[in-house]
């Protein structure tokens, strides 16, 4: 089986599966090592981009998925109307940004940063599958700790949590163009 053939099979499998498929599953199906699969799929990712294909391969942790391209939105929109998600409220976004940077984190800690109650926004985020309970702290009251999900990564087009812009950088940028943020 040559490399081109393997790429073809991976494309077919990703197409059929629709959702993100882990390197592990692909390696099993192709009877190849994970490293080989990873190497090949990274290759494919670049080829898809280089050839300006209509599809792209996106990565969510160690899983891959096909999707359309942002640039083609205007055309795809003519065929299919997206579910109009209003997007998250400011409160939810603030809460989410704290959770994403400080996870695992308890509700009380989030609230002390935001200065307001956050139970509603946390619930919204859980309902939307962006945040989940990651367990409980072993201290009085056994508070729940929260973290982000894979769906969070997908929702914001992030490969993994390290893809988040560094908070420090944010601060620096902010100090520089203090006036641009208004």
């Amino acid at each position: 089986m040559d490399r081109k053939e393997i790429k073809g099979i991976i494309e077919g499998i990703l197409y059929i599966w629709g959702e993100s498929l882990s390197i592990d599953s692909m390696a099993e199906i192709l009877e190849l090592s994970k490293d080989e699969v990873k190497n090949i799929i990274e290759d494919m990712k670049n080829e898809f981009n280089y050839n300006r294909r209509g599809l792209q391969i996106i990565q969510i942790k160690d899983a891959y998925q096909l999707s359309t391209r942002v640039e083609h939105y205007d055309y795809i929109k003519k065929l299919i109307t997206p579910k109009n998600n209003k997007g998250l409220s400011n409160a939810a976004l603030e809460t989410l940004s704290i959770i994403s940077y400080k996870q695992p984190i308890t509700r009380v800690e989030i609230e002390s940063i935001r200065g307001v109650k956050c139970d509603k926004s946390i619930n919204t985020l859980i309902e939307k599958g962006l945040v989940e309970e990651k367990g409980r702290l072993d201290r009085t009251g056994k508070p729940i700790i929260y973290g982000t999900t894979n769906n969070f990564l997908k929702h914001f087009g992030l490969r993994d949590i390290n893809d988040l812009p560094k908070l420090k950088e944010l601060k620096d940028i902010d100090l520089l163009d203090e006036n641009n943020t208004k």
Partner: protein, 243 residues
């Protein structure tokens, strides 16, 4: 309402403070507590006048601000007799630190918002239905009862309720019917039947926007003199027919 002010809604006391500081265009480190406190409390009274709910967090912050303000008024005490240099820390210190911390995430949240906007333009296709149909196995319908069907639908509803809007953000959905489509739908029905009951048109079209489209479609067709509506008797079902 007699007030002409557009009141921004603030996510909490920090959000409000942050806004006041930005408006003044001062560095967070240089804030004048007296001024900020005054503005903060003014804002709270405005909220009160407008009958907006002021949560306890806002009040606690007001108290904190007043406390800091009063500390700032006290002279920097050095109790000489005991030779202890009480180099008082800046009473604003803690508040400033918290504001800076808050600001980081507020900015991060703005970045998230932009990312979300961009990424909502990416679409995924649903998974293919992948079940092997054993060719030799002829599917038979014997034994399939209504209760199986209802159970299947019930399961879907439960799944959907659990899922709520969650998980699949970019799931695709076509538009609900437009007025033009509603008009065509009515025309088609009337091509097939001499008359159509008004009620019948709304069956299985339970979303509000569909009902509205169909209703407007009927009115349009009447205006175009394509159809008329009538009743056989008072209070009997309204019927539509072509002219």
């Amino acid at each position: 309402m007699k007030y002409n002010i557009t009141l921004e809604s603030f996510e909490g006391p920090f959000d409000l403070l942050y806004h006041l500081i930005e408006k003044e265009e001062v560095d967070i480190y240089d804030i004048s507590i007296a001024k900020i406190t005054e503005q903060y409390i003014d804002y709270l009274s405005l909220m009160e006048e407008l009958d907006l709910e002021i949560t306890s967090e806002f009040l606690i912050m007001a108290a904190t601000l007043l406390e800091i303000k009063s500390k700032m008024l006290l002279p920097n005490t050095k109790i000489e007799g005991e030779q202890i240099e009480m180099e008082e820390a800046d009473p604003r210190e803690e508040l400033i630190q918290r504001l800076i911390e808050y600001k980081k995430y507020k900015i991060a949240a703005e970045k998230f918002k932009k990312r979300e906007e961009v990424h909502s333009k990416v679409f995924y296709k649903p998974r293919e239905e992948i079940e092997i149909y054993n060719e030799s196995d002829t599917i038979n319908l014997e034994g399939l009862e209504l209760k199986d069907l209802i159970k299947a639908f019930d399961n879907i509803i439960k799944k959907n309720i659990n899922k709520k809007s969650s998980k699949e953000f970019h799931k695709i959905k076509r538009e609900e019917i437009t007025i033009d489509e509603a008009m065509n739908l009515i025309r088609n029905k009337l091509n097939l039947n001499k008359h159509v009951f008004f009620d019948e048109l709304f069956e299985n079209r339970v979303t509000r926007s569909n009902i509205i489209s169909i209703f407007i479609g009927i009115l349009e067709l009447i205006k175009l003199k394509e159809i008329i509506i009538y009743q056989d008797n008072n209070f009997s079902n309204i019927k539509l027919r072509q002219i």
